[in-house]
């Protein structure tokens, strides 16, 4: 019998197409998994929450979830979009943060509940050399979830996964 544990294990092979070192479980976008069985047919319902409203990766992720579960013999896959509570980087796993840093993207350091002042910036250590002497160059980067920094010690630019 297929259980929710199996499903979580299979979902851990689905990665974010835009930040491929992170799985959807690392990101914390899988909110719940329900499995029902009737006449030998398994139905799985996966509750996911979008990171940002317009994140184009969400459609790809939904498709990947469907593919993976169908390939494991699940007859019916429902994907439910859940907007509330709104996704936050507080749900990102420690393992995910470690992998991000290794990949060259500074992970979120601050809890989203500690809001920044209007013109306050996050102090983000450089993922390459570890220096604290870094500065924000743009609040926006190649994907909605990241901002751009540069390191004043090793002079390399880097991306930061914003605390959200």
């Amino acid at each position: 019998m297929i259980t929710a544990e199996h499903i979580y294990e299979w979902l851990s092979t689905v990665t974010d197409p835009e930040v491929p070192v992170l799985t959807i479980l690392d990101l914390g976008i899988v909110r719940d998994v329900q499995v029902t069985e009737e006449n030998g047919q398994t139905t799985a319902t996966i509750f996911i929450t979008p990171t940002y409203s317009g994140c184009p990766a969400m459609d790809v992720i939904s498709m990947q979830i469907r593919m993976v579960l169908l390939s494991k013999g699940i007859s019916k896959v429902n994907i439910e979009n859940q907007l509330s509570p709104a996704w936050t980087t507080d749900w990102m796993s420690e393992e995910g943060k470690r992998k991000l840093n290794e990949y060259g993207i500074a992970p979120p350091y601050r809890k989203s509940t500690n809001a920044l002042g209007l013109f306050e910036d996050d102090n983000v250590p450089c993922p390459r050399c570890g220096s604290d002497n870094t500065e924000l160059t743009s609040q926006f980067a190649a994907t909605a979830c990241k901002s751009l920094y540069k390191c004043n010690s090793c002079h390399e630019p880097f991306e930061h996964f914003k605390c959200h």
Binding site: Y52, S53, G54, L83, S84, T137, S138, Q139, F140, A144
Partner: protein
């Protein structure tokens, strides 16, 4: 409730039209970082628009046929109803006519130059920030969920546009002159943001919508605070344009829709 549908469409249309306007900068930003900032922001607005259109479609599809027939004028929507089909988010964005759009006049105003683009975003972002903060408390669970999610995104937008207002106002003689010109021209569209339409009054009374009286002072104070930092003067109140929320638009909306809707109108149901 038809008032709720009108309200949901107003929120969706504001997000879609502003998102579309901002996306016109894609590939034309003055530097790469700002091009990326604008396209990210446009994407947030489009994402928010999708959430609201999905909810609006759900409400529309639940109406009795007799009411559906009179809700929108466009023949494309009429034929969907006649075929007994349901409308979806795309139909609402691509197949409605201009007078069925309920966005405010501010968001449809052209980009013109950087200063005009910044000030339009700034006036709207301040509004949107306080608006979503209040809408989170809506008794309608879908609206409050969309607001909760969107507010996080709007916080970045507001910060970005506030910083640019300060940079332009407190920058060179030319940047100050340009932002002042943009303020003088766009100020007349700000009154509509905070003036309640009939639909807004109806949903505010039932605890679903936001009572704009609650955020009027917050809007003014925040604009004044950022303008003070930027060495800019807040214009006197003056005469304000109205009408967008009731479907009466400036000529600019027609051009936006012509571009936005052309492919779906010419080649119905086309996908790529």
């Amino acid at each position: 409730m038809k008032e709720l549908l009108k309200y949901t469409l107003q929120l969706a249309d504001n997000a879609l039209i502003l998102g579309h306007r901002i996306s016109e900068w894609c590939g034309h930003g003055p530097v790469l970082e700002q091009d990326i900032a604008l396209t990210n922001t446009a994407l947030d607005h489009l994402g928010q628009a999708r959430s609201f259109y999905q909810y609006a479609a759900e409400q529309f599809n639940a109406l009795p046929v007799s009411e559906k027939e009179h809700f929108f004028t466009s023949s494309a929507i009429q034929s969907i109803i006649k075929d007994g089909k349901q409308v979806d988010e795309d139909d609402l964005a691509y197949l409605r006519d201009g007078w069925d759009f309920r966005n405010t006049l501010l968001v449809e105003q052209p980009n013109k130059d950087w200063a005009y683009t910044i000030i339009r975003s700034f006036f709207y972002d301040v509004f949107n920030f306080f608006f979503y903060t209040e809408l989170q408390k809506s008794t309608d669970v879908t609206l409050s969920a969309i607001a909760e999610k969107s507010l996080k995104e709007v916080t970045y937008h507001l910060r970005w546009s506030s910083e640019w207002v300060i940079r332009l106002g407190d920058g060179t003689d030319e940047s100050a002159q340009r932002i002042n010109e943009a303020i003088a021209n766009r100020w007349q569209f700000t009154g509509e943001l905070l003036t309640m339409s009939e639909a807004e009054k109806a949903v505010a009374t039932s605890g679903i919508g936001v009572d704009l009286e609650k955020i009027k002072t917050l809007w003014k104070e925040r604009v004044a605070a950022v303008f003070a930092e930027a060495n800019l003067d807040v214009p006197a109140n003056g005469w304000m344009h109205q009408g967008g929320k009731e479907g009466k638009h400036s000529e600019h909306l027609g051009y936006i829709l012509a571009e936005l809707q052309f492919v779906q109108r010419a080649y119905p149901n086309m996908q790529w």
